[in-house]
Amino acid sequence: MADREPFVHPYIPNSVPEVKRRMLDEIGAEDIEDLFEQIPERLRFKGKMGIPGPLRSECELKRHVESILLKNKTCRAYLSFLGAGCWQHYVPAVCDEINRRAEFLTAYGGEPYEDHGRFQALFEYESMMAELVDMDVVNVPTYDGAQAAATSIRMASRITGRKEALLPRTMSPERLAVIKNYCRPDIAIRLLDYDPATGELDLGDLRRKASGETAAVFFENPSYLGFVETRGDEISRVAHDSGALSVVYVDPISLGVLAPPPEYGADIVCGDIQPLGMHMNYGGGHGGFIATRDEVRFVKEYPSRLFGIATNAEGEWVFGDVAYERTSFAVREKGKEFVGTHAALWGITAGVYLALLGPRGIAELGRTIMQRTQYAMKRIAAIRGVKLQFAAPSFKEFVVNFDGTGRTVEQVNRSLFERKIFGGRDLSRDFPELGQSALYCVTEVHTKADIDALVSALNAAVQ
């Protein structure tokens, strides 16, 4: 490098040779190499990393990255009916506008003085989520819904002093895998059977398995497989009768029309905020929430940051960390689980989303989604050989069974793909007992024309 033009990258101002020299002189060092004196020679990396580039000009860089990204085909270019935990909802422009603001995008761990706005925005997020789920405490978001579920179960275990959780066999396999991993070795996970006609939890099996060992009875509503668990109050009652907590995983966007879980006995509500204003981002738009009543025994068990409100001597609104001493930031391994960098920006965005929708918007949206979904279910069920797997109400997802068509889901999806449609999630590997079944998702973005196009493509696929 020495005999060439000095490499002053736009991201590294002090590469300017004169500046470097001046700084070294101030330090009293001869060469930058001297500053690495702590690293012994034997640990020095001598080779080349073989990393391509540099693409020094932004123009080249952008061209290069764009050229790779343009190989992707989006859910705008294709008509998508994929859901399964990541959903295509409309993202209002104001959501993007706010989460791309440099102030929010590039802030990090400041204090509630100079980052007052960040604390307030996240407090408001907690507050609006609280209205939606009808609880008094909501955390600053954790990584994703799966993490929120896993932590909710661990919280239930600490609160009850018990070491077993009961979960429905119909739940998301991804989420279950995260929970199992995260709850080991402290909590045993046992699965509950379901009613093959409706998909709903088998209450008999629940009663058999609920015991004095049970910390939590966990269920999803709507479930991973789309149906609404209509007997939430009975499930919660069984949980409570055995001294366990009722933990309900919800899709928050359903709560304009579906009853909030505390109405049917939930002690802890958790879920994923991706539907509330986050793009799918190839699965990168997730954030998890946990909500409980405002009781010390619950609050003290959260691992997450909890931002609270107060007033100061001047009468200003001020914000701060509630019960900080419970966190690993304060007391390391003696804290509740651990906390770190999770998904705060998505929390702020979900707050913006809920403020935009308001009480009427969230209800109207829920209605629209249910109408479109029912229309799709009805039309799809009318296709010869195709049937709906479960006779239970759905919110936005439902299981379609193709056994009567002689086609596999893979074959059906390949045929749809040729017509630029992403068919539903193939369930045949995760739920072999459902035969050739797929999980379809319909939201407010799907028009009648979109659904009709799907139906006609399905008709062609099963011919």
């Binding site: 990204l69 998508s80 506008e97 408001e124 209509t230 190839y282 001597a313 998904a343």
Partner: protein
């Protein structure tokens, strides 16, 4: 509404000082809580209504739900017109000190480097935002190519053999590593290893995540150099040792030169060594996990690799392992068969999943773009300049009265330093918390340390490669000014801030169950209770 008239501090900056000290005041909108802005009937966005044919065919949709499952009362969300929502949040954004706005070297350990705008633009393209994780692989070849290549880059930078990009942040990577260490010992039928070693200057999650995974945490105490000496490790290592989770350099900026000996000792005892590389910014291309003998490592892409911190995520960690441990990585792994990229789930020994899907791809994309913008030499220059900047700042800070940098006196540091103002406190009564609040009056962040405060009156500064000498001088001038104030008028520092968004925040309400309010509805309830006869 409440009335507030905080005094503006006008005396700080005399005429002629302007070059060295900014007459700063943060935006203060006195913005109400959003619920206070609600006007019944206002609307922010309208959801689409269904076509008449659909309504005719299925009715209102919600009647399919049993009565007990229908929401009776709408959620008490605020009602605001669209522009009011926008203005409210823009005001809150202005009351937030983003890294883009300040000389953000005061948030030590956070590596607040510049996050190039072009990468945000790229990550905003529909070709990434509008991708569903279950799309046919043929339609996501672009993003898979980026994730695969990022894995290859990380291998080069660390010397490890394979990476997973699944963890959504450093702490989740730490949890992952603990799971893999557990899986490794289980796979060998080795059931007696239940102790995880770490050090006090490693991130709290190194200890806490290990505890969640079921390990007993052994914190090896630091010696006079700031890191534990070999004897201390010797004492802590036993046949119960499952592994070591350690940062190097630790948050002191001091590199443990015996690290390869430590990893050998742990290996000899049958344990695994996991490297927390949150502090990697001063080492890119200089020294690697492999040469130091580690079996695993992880990088925070939102730190060393420039992706914006987003008020605390979404973030991403790249988790790397040696060939022997690759089979335990979470599924799926992004692979390449010579023709196409694909998601490999066929990994029977995998620990399974720690996070939904594949991590946070927009963050992967930004890190990828940053790395190719710099190339091999550029990455090394990042490390060199980050270390140069840090030692320059250290030289200048240590010239200030009352400042010290405990451990390793007279030695250069890598990318950050944990300073102590203990002497200044002894002289003036001014604490690091006071200095912190005063720093906000000049438009910069200031961070003390994780707990416990092993270094008394700590301040952690990490200049990174992103700031010019002039900017570093500005930060130093602020510190110098505050130290001067501490000596001349300590009360002024103690009563700060004056020019931040709010005045002093009391801590008591946040620790008192009768007063804490984590949501607006909880606040209103507690207020009502307080006002009620016989209330608190």
């Amino acid at each position: 509404m409440r009335e507030t008239r905080p005094e503006r501090d006008e005396t700080d900056v005399k005429k002629g000082d302007r070059d060295v000290l900014r007459r700063f005041h943060e935006a203060k909108w006195d913005e109400p809580v959003i619920f206070e802005l609600s006007t019944a009937g206002e609307r922010g966005v309208l959801p689409p209504e269904v076509e008449k044919e659909i309504a005719d065919e299925v009715g209102d949709g919600v009647s399919s739900l049993p009565e007990s499952m229908r929401r009776k009362r709408p959620p008490a969300l605020p009602e605001l017109s669209q522009a009011r929502v926008l203005r409210h949040y823009l005001r809150l954004s202005q009351e937030t000190l983003g890294a883009d706005l300040n000389v953000d070297v005061g948030q030590g350990t956070c590596t607040m480097k510049y996050s190039p705008k072009v990468n945000d633009q790229l990550a905003g393209m529909p070709e990434i935002t509008e991708l569903h994780p279950l799309q046919d692989e043929a339609t996501v070849q672009g993003i898979l190519e980026i994730m695969y290549n990022l894995d290859l880059f990380m291998r080069e930078i660390s010397g490890m053999d394979q990476f997973s990009l699944q963890p959504g942040g450093g702490s989740q990577a730490m949890a992952n590593r603990a799971c893999m260490i557990r899986a490794y010992h289980e796979s060998r039928g080795d059931k007696n290893r239940d102790e995880m070693l770490t050090t006090i200057f490693s991130h709290p999650s190194d200890a806490a995540a290990a505890a969640v995974a079921g390990f007993k945490v052994i914190t090896v105490p630091p010696g006079k150099n700031g890191y534990p000496d070999l004897e201390a490790f010797e004492k802590a290592i036993s046949d119960r040792t499952a592994g070591l989770m350690i940062t190097n350099p630790e948050d002191t900026g001091i590199f443990n030169p015996d690290i390869d000996r430590v990893t050998r000792m742990v290996h000899d005892a049958g344990g695994l060594c996991a490297y927390d590389q949150a502090n990697a910014n001063g080492m890119l291309g200089i020294t690697r996990a492999r040469e130091a003998g580690f079996d695993m490592c992880f990088f925070n892409l939102h730190k060393s690799f420039s992706t914006p911190h987003g008020c605390g995520g979404p973030a991403s960690a790249a988790l790397g392992v040696s060939r022997e441990l690759a089979r335990f990585l979470p599924v799926p792994i992004v692979s390449f068969d010579g023709r196409k990229y694909y998601l490999d789930y066929d990994r029977p020994d995998s620990i399974g999943k720690v996070r939904t899907w594949y991590g946070v791809p927009p963050v992967h994309l930004k890190a990828y773009s940053w790395i190719v913008a710099l190339g091999d030499e550029g990455l090394k220059e990042v490390a060199r300049i980050a270390v140069l900047n840090n030692n320059y700042v250290m030289k200048k800070v240590l010239e200030m009265p009352g400042a010290s940098a405990p451990y390793g006196r007279g030695r250069y540091r890598l990318e950050q330093v944990r300073y102590s103002w203990e002497r200044l406190r002894e002289l003036t009564g001014v604490t690091t918390d006071d200095i912190q609040r005063r720093a906000f009056d000049f438009g910069v962040h200031y961070w003390t340390s994780h707990h416990p405060f092993v270094v008394p009156e700590p301040m952690t500064v990490e200049p990174t490669e992103s700031y010019s000498k002039a900017e570093l001088d500005e930060f130093l001038n602020i510190l110098r000014h505050i130290v001067h104030e501490a000596q001349m008028e300590p009360e002024k520092v103690r009563n700060a801030p004056y020019n931040s968004v709010v005045r002093r925040i009391p801590s008591a309400p946040f620790d008192d169950p009768d007063r804490w309010a984590i949501t607006w509805r909880a606040y209103l309830k507690k207020q009502r209770r307080e006002r009620a006869p016989g209330g608190h």
